[in-house]
């Protein structure tokens, strides 16, 4: 019983981390209709930004998250403005190709710049834990989970209640009408992509604190984020949080009951099931 409870908690905490990773991907996908295959590579870059801040400037990885997010926002804004805006109205296939290319380029640039060495962001408290009865709560994951929840609600409120958020939603719903109301799409797209990449950067900082960083972590993270966005649905950030938690719990239980080698089978099996049963995600509106 204790074991099951511990496994469930592990799953929830893992799910929180998953949710932060997928938030940016879901936003960009929902609004710009770009499935950003380079999303994981941006998470990787964010992790390196956090690592440099921590290693060379001594900035705590959690306190440094806003800086990482801001740096990555600029990178994202520039990428959209300079590159992706050129193909934003092109068929989906073109955006897939260009973001895939971007992923390859970023990965290899990262190896040239940072080498293939492993890095970890390892502040003294990163391995600490809180013990409640027989259950152990890893501190770093708990903090990452808290940040995931805060970011999700902040995103939700931002989209609902701010002028920019409303403009983003309006553009996602109807571009022509949004333009008639004075939305400038090139800037707005770049803002949206920037926010998405800023979130990816924050996820990278958290990831480096609980796991390890090398230039090649991106592709697997993109796949995971993609699955979460589909499972949760693209309509609102809460869906992503639910999708992340759902996936985290399923994977943890799969390791316990089916075997560790099948964790990925379970998570992508769930993805297929969701696509069959609820094609617009668990929290998505059914057509």
């Amino acid at each position: 019983m204790d074991l099951l409870l511990q496994i469930l908690i592990n799953g929830v905490l893992l799910g929180g981390l998953y949710a932060v990773m997928a938030l940016g991907l879901a936003l960009v996908w929902g609004v710009l209709n770009i499935v950003n295959l380079a999303h994981g590579a941006f998470i990787m870059l964010g992790a390196y930004v956090s690592w440099h801040l921590y290693t060379y400037l001594g900035i705590d990885p959690f306190l440094g998250l806003p800086i990482t997010a801001a740096v990555m926002f600029v990178v994202g804004y520039a990428t959209q403005r300079g590159l992706l805006n050129l193909i934003v109205r092109a068929p989906m296939f073109n955006t897939l190709l260009i973001t895939f290319g971007l992923e390859v380029v970023l990965t290899y640039l990262a190896q040239i710049a940072f080498s293939a060495d492993f890095r970890t962001i390892n502040p003294s408290y990163a391995g600490n834990s809180i013990q409640i009865g027989a259950v152990v709560l890893p501190l770093a994951r708990l903090m990452a989970f808290g940040i995931a929840v805060v970011l999700t609600f902040a995103m939700w409120m931002f989209l609902l209640h701010t002028r920019l958020g409303r403009a983003i939603r309006a553009t996602a719903q109807n571009l022509v009408a949004a333009r008639l109301y004075g939305v400038e799409p090139r800037h707005l797209y770049a803002m949206t992509f920037g926010i998405g990449i800023g979130l990816a950067g924050a996820a990278g900082g958290l990831y480096g604190t609980v796991s390890q960083i090398n230039p090649y972590i991106g592709a697997a993270l993109t796949a995971k984020s993609f699955a979460i966005a589909i499972i949760g649905g693209l309509d609102n950030p809460l869906g992503v949080l639910v999708g992340g938690l759902f996936l985290g719990i399923i994977e943890s239980l799969a390791v316990l009951y089916i075997g560790a080698t099948f964790a990925d089978v379970a998570s992508f099996g769930v993805l297929v099931l969701v696509l069959i049963v609820r094609p617009s995600g668990l929290l998505g509106k059914t057509a």
Binding site: D2, L3, Q6, I7, N10, G11, L13, L14, Y108, Q111, A116, D117, F118, R119, T120, N122, A126, G127, N128, S129, Q131, V136, P138, L139, A140, R141, V210, S211, Q212, N214, Y216, A220, E251, S252, L253, V255, L256, G259, A260, T261, F262, A263, D264
Partner: protein, 407 residues
């Protein structure tokens, strides 16, 4: 305009032709070179280990050439390395080896890193009957197919934990329950298959025997089970990234068995640096430690190799690098023994080599694999300490591992 273009192109043609002629004249000397071909992971997820092979091949070839080269019959010939980056992609590596033998016409092959690569690539050397000496694949599967052109200088995967289990019997209090975790690839499955009967023979109780998917990043569920079952000793056969995650997550879940040991990572400087003090107490194994007792014809001995390698590449070599350098030396030795660069003759000479090297005695069993004992090592403080070798204990182990909050 068109006229002058044609003139230029005529001039260019003449220039090109004379350059080709010059190259042709210069060629006979170059044709003497013995070309060694390899496809190695220079980029991609295992580039971190792949670099040991590129660097070791380069250093060994440079050293041998500086000493005059390889003696074939009455003439001395230089070695040349032709290396491709397989981007950590097995399929690409098979294509590159095919290209090396069929188009580049290299004389002999050096190996890639990792068992799954060597397993696939050795099919190429077998098909084209070009000997491959590889120091990157330890899986018993590679040598179980009665191939005649593959030779390996890593100790058999099935015996990686052998010396560790011997050591476990000397520890007080003796560990009783064991968890065996392994990744689902060729090397790690071979390790697990070889370890199971040894654990049984040692009278240890295997309470967990779990295969996990390669490149798994989350070990929290497995670690929670280790804690719940109160496992004494954890043996993990996996890759460096997984083992890094495993140790970090063990700390964050406060899971501290009496001991844990890992097939890879512990001997590598970069791995220990990434973990910092959290690497402490981790056991591992290596078939090679730089010792002045390991005499070498080209480098002098293993410590000199270690020093030269470190100066040239700015990082510490581990057994992967030593194994890679030994592969070059094995080919050279076999060419000299055969007195020829004929692939079949060199293959037969390789089967008979028996010489001292910086890596140990190079001698292949009938299946083509070397048999070297594994020395148990442990991270103690910021040092890597040899715990137990073939001749028994070397230094005392730090055991049992203290709880994470008691360090």
């Amino acid at each position: 305009m068109a006229m002058s273009n044609r003139l230029i192109s005529k001039k260019t043609l003449i220039a090109a032709a004379s350059a080709a002629a010059l190259a042709f004249v210069a060629n006979p000397a170059a044709a003497q070179d013995i070309v060694l071909g390899a496809s190695v992971q220079l980029t991609g997820p295992v580039a971190n280990t792949g670099r040991y092979y590129r660097d070791a091949y380069e250093l060994a070839i440079e050293k041998i050439n500086a000493a005059g080269g390889v003696k074939v019959g009455n003439e001395k010939r230089k070695l040349v390395l032709k290396i491709y980056d397989n981007q950590s992609d097995v399929n690409l590596s098979v294509r590159q080896y095919t290209q090396l033998v069929s188009q580049d016409k290299v004389d002999f092959l050096l190996g890639p890193f990792a068992s799954n690569f060597a397993l696939a690539d050795s099919a190429v050397s077998e098909k084209y009957k070009i000997p491959m000496v590889q120091g990157g694949g330890a899986s018993d599967q590679i040598f179980a197919r009665k191939f005649k052109y593959i030779f390996g200088t890593l100790a058999p995967a099935s015996n990686y934990f052998g010396s560790t289990i011997d050591m476990m019997k000397t520890l007080k209090p003796e560990p009783k329950s064991v968890a065996l975790l392994y990744a689902d690839d060729s090397f790690d499955v071979s390790v697990a298959d070889g370890t199971r009967p040894k654990l049984k023979a040692a009278g240890l109780n295997v309470v967990m025997d779990e295969r996990y998917s390669t490149n798994a990043t989350d070990f929290n569920s497995l670690l929670s089970q280790i804690r719940s079952k109160n496992v004494d000793a954890v043996l993990v056969a996996g890759h460096e990234t997984e083992i890094l995650n495993f140790i970090r997550q063990a700390k964050s879940l406060a899971v501290a068995p009496k001991m844990y040991s890992f097939t890879v990572g512990v001997p590598s400087e970069d791995f220990r640096r990434a973990l910092g003090t959290d690497a402490n107490y981790a056991f591992g194994m290596t078939a090679w430690l730089p010792s002045a007792d390991l005499k070498d014809r080209w480098f002098g001995d293993a410590t000199k190799f270690e020093a030269e390698y470190r100066t040239k590449f700015n990082y510490e070599p581990d057994y992967h690098a030593a194994s890679g350098a030994a592969d070059v030396e094995a080919i050279v030795q076999a060419i000299e023994d055969a007195g020829s660069t004929d692939p079949a003759k060199v293959r037969d000479a390789l089967a008979k080599v028996n010489f001292d090297s910086l890596y140990g005695v190079i001698k292949f069993a009938e299946n083509g694999q070397i048999d070297l004992p594994q020395t148990v090592i442990q991270v103690q403080g910021d040092k890597l300490v040899a715990i137990q070798g073939t001749k028994g204990p070397i230094h005392p182990a730090k055991y049992p591992m203290p709880a994470w909050n008691a360090r």
